[in-house]
Amino acid sequence: MKLTRRKFLGGAAAVAASSMTLFNFNLLTNSPSASAADQPSEAIKTFRNVCPRNCYDTCGMITYVEDGVLKKVEGDPKHGYTNGKLCLKGYSYPRRVYSPDRIKYPMKQSPRGSGNWTRISWDEAMDTIAKKILDLKKRYGSTLPICLDKYSGNFGIVHYGIEGTMSSIGYTTRAVGTPCWPAGIDAQTYDFGTLYSNDPEDMVNAKYIILWGQNAAWTAIHSLPFINEARERGAKLVVIDPILTSTASKADLYIQINPSTDGALALGMARYIIDNNWVDWEYARANSLGFDEWVEYVKKSITLDWASEKTGVPKDIIMEIAREYATAKPASMWVGYGMQRHTNGGQNVRIIDALGVMTGNVGKSGGGVNYGHLETWGFNYNAMVNAPPKGSKGFIGPDGKEGDRAINMNNFAHDVSAQSDPPVKMLWLACRNPGAQDPDTNAIEKMFSSMEFVVTVDSFFNKTVEMSDIVLPATTHFEDWDVMASYWHYWVGINQRAIDPLYECKSDVEIAIELSEKMNALEPGSCTFPTSGTPEEWLAKEFNPGIHQMLGINDYKELIDGPRKAKMPPASWSDGNFRTPSKKIEIHSELAEKNGLPALPIWVDEMKTPEKYPIRFMTPHPQYALHSQFQNLDWMMTTNPEPKVEIHPNLAAKYGITEGTMVKIYNDLGSITVKAHLTRTTSTNVIVAYEAWYKNSNFNVNYTLKAIPSDMGKQATGNDGLAFHDNFVMIEKA
């Protein structure tokens, strides 16, 4: 702001001083150099960026900038995992940055949801927000009526400044948890102490690969070359998935499993492995607790017939993959996030973990039960940690400590509405679009309309922005300094500011600074967020000796030469130092038991299909979008102009549905209407539509989705996950 004003005044003064003309300029000003016109175009400059989206691949990018304009993006060849290539979403970035649809200025809607927007200055926006915060604080005696919902829109480390914004105004209500992967995280936490996967580049060493509910072709495509290399070296690829995905289509063996029965398949395999004594007794007994107890359970309770009946997988196939998995050493398993989005999802992951342990594949190069990791995320989170202002009143938790009030991100609509002491009155949304992504969209709409005040920071006019009072324009990652780590590969890259922020867009930290200045002006001491520092300085503060050492650098600036891979062994847990309370793999987990879960990885029944709604509606990740990002861009809208629901021809025939028929998908919660695509890539009781936000469309797969929790997630992420794929519906011709 200051900079602009100075520039403006400077410009005006220059014009006034010049005897050139008496013309009064408003938008133009004298250029600094008299011979500006003769200057040749600047040479093309390149910058390093990292795609900050919620994606396994977290690609290194090279950005080409000419005359301050982003011309194109390419993959960073120095990035050993993404290897100089981007996905179709990555290549579409210039369309995102320069889309005329971008949100350009702070805007105010009155009343909320009316579509009546006025442009306001940052000053007015901050003034309104700050006054609202102070007003709520005064009325309720604390800032707890203010609720933050931030998640995965941008996983850059500096973006944790959003949490910092809230911390700095006092104790607030926070949406806690993660909708994506918590059940699996907890499963691995109970078993190994945390989630920690092998280096994906290490998959080349596998002799056998099982992708369990994992569609790498759409969600982690940069892993495919490593899988392909393993296959070229002789490895067999097995894909287990209810949907015949693009990845599954390439497999040597594809198993169309009954949804939510992955644990039963793993138990059947375990039984056959025990029966044939292919167990790595030495590894399992030396490294784990409760292994024999579990073996007894398998022997006593599991039969191949049962497993076959449960999973819909023929016995001989269970035997085949059990034998191959147990005897091909090393064998790698990759557990996808889709398969744990069930009411028994975490438990199924625990059973698969046990399968890895019993065959001695854990801790081995070319092996592992790979789910994800957070080993490279040890930054300072400097922007996040701010002490609350003096005298802040917080929420007294069950442990007696005063702090933020946590509510469940995965039942956000319900939990926000359920708060009464004090009630939630204001929402702050950043990197998050609950209007499109949360379960039970009708409930979300209702909850939003009960708020006094909603602030959203975003780049495009999505459903959440539609339901806001004030929207603040967010920068893209090309307009920010940041650093990004991956939850899959071991690389860390720096993200340079390649272009100046467009229009009046600001990064989350810059917004926090503005807010802090305003709040302290209105009420000194009411906000602790520091008000100085350039974006690059804020980035620099994220680094520490641990990170330096891990990446083999002395200074963050070295990352400008190229991303670095963490110095870690290729196989997770190869040192045998597990992070459970017992320091061993806990096949018998007391922690799980304490949390009301089975101590052992035993079978837990899947959710029963309700009679009234016999069809399972699965809504996995799309190819052209990342949640509600990307699909709205013109290239995507041309290539994939409208959503479709995939229906098996046999199921379609029952309801008189043919290719292209509009189908109404409904249950007690709500309904959506979408065009049918008949395909045998799905099964006869499962329909599939891919979640996404299409431009100028109200399509949203979450209208029929109940906020049913998955079995795990509380331990490590604060809240249980969401059983996204236990979504049952009825269909009819629309």
């Binding site: 602009t4 520039k7 403006f8 410009g11 003309t21 008496l22 013309f23 300029f25 408003n26 938008l27 133009l28 000003t29 004298n30 250029s31 008299a34 500006a36 016109a37 200057q39 005359d67 301050g68 304009v69 982003l70 210039p94 369309r95 320069y98 889309s99 005329p100 649809d101 971008r102 949100i103 350009k104 200025y105 805007m107 579509g115 009546n116 927007w117 006025t118 442009r119 495009f460 006019f461 922005v465 929207v471 324009p473 272009i499 100046d500 922020p501 467009l502 229009y503 009046e504 013109d634 431009k695 100028n696």
Partner: protein, 239 residues
């Protein structure tokens, strides 16, 4: 070729005032229509009277009517202004040249940089350079108005070399930029305007691009397409 011989300074001044009034209107946004409408009405009347065009007079009557409206109506017009030009929704008619003329219909396109170079020829740059696209409608209008003012000054000073220079600049800029997209832009506005004010505004933009023809040696070719138009048309042949 008949530019400055045929156009007395007074006419040029009237044109310049209209350009500036429009520039202010778009720059100040929907929130300030109560200040920017009246000057537009005034300059528009002058033009309409000079050329005696009934369509422009009619459009200006609507403008005049709404320039004296109440606060409630101003608010409605402000919302419509933002829906059309600003956002936060995907604006119907983004007021940037490259959205209409570049092949990829994005901002900061080749036209943006070409326009920047034009400004540089006069040692000018936009105040929001690198943040706001240089081909924002208000900036282009201001630049054209500036060129007209230079022509008036140099005419007064009888500096024929300079007159020729500014005349050329003006014509080039009009033919290569503003004149190429103003009609398409106006058309896009009129197609989806839900308030009479903006239909009238669109009419004035069309008139402006037509009326500037006498100031030019020839009218610029309007063979360009709005994004909506080209996005709709298919690239497939009959086969």
């Amino acid at each position: 070729m008949t530019f400055f011989e045929d156009c007395p300074p007074q006419v040029l001044k009237t044109h310049g005032e209209l350009l500036l009034a429009l520039s202010h209107l778009f720059a100040q946004g929907g929130e300030n229509l109560s200040q920017t409408l009246s000057p537009l009405v005034k300059s528009c009347s002058a033009i309409a009277e000079h050329y005696n065009t009934s369509r422009l007079l009619q459009a200006n009557q609507i403008l005049a009517q709404y320039s004296e409206t109440n606060d409630g109506e101003y608010l409605v017009m402000c919302y419509e202004f933002n829906r059309l030009f600003v956002g936060p929704n995907a604006p119907v008619a983004p007021p940037y040249e490259s959205v209409y003329l570049s092949s990829d219909h994005l901002v900061m396109g080749e036209q943006t940089l070409a326009v920047r170079k034009f400004y540089q020829r006069e040692n000018l740059q936009t105040i929001g350079q690198r943040h706001e696209p240089d081909d924002f409608i208000s900036t282009e209008l201001e630049f054209v108005a500036y060129l007209l003012s230079r022509i008036i000054e140099t005419q007064a000073a009888k500096n024929s070399a300079k007159i020729q220079l500014y005349k050329t600049l003006y014509q080039e800029f009009w033919q290569q930029h503003l004149g190429l997209w103003l009609k398409t832009f106006a058309h896009t506005v009129s197609q989806s305007a839900k308030h009479p004010l903006f239909s009238a505004l669109s009419e004035i933009l069309v008139a402006l691009s037509t009326l500037n023809a006498p100031l030019n040696t020839k009218e610029a070719p309007y063979e360009t397409y709005a994004p909506q138009i080209s996005r709709r048309s298919s690239s497939r042949c009959c086969l």
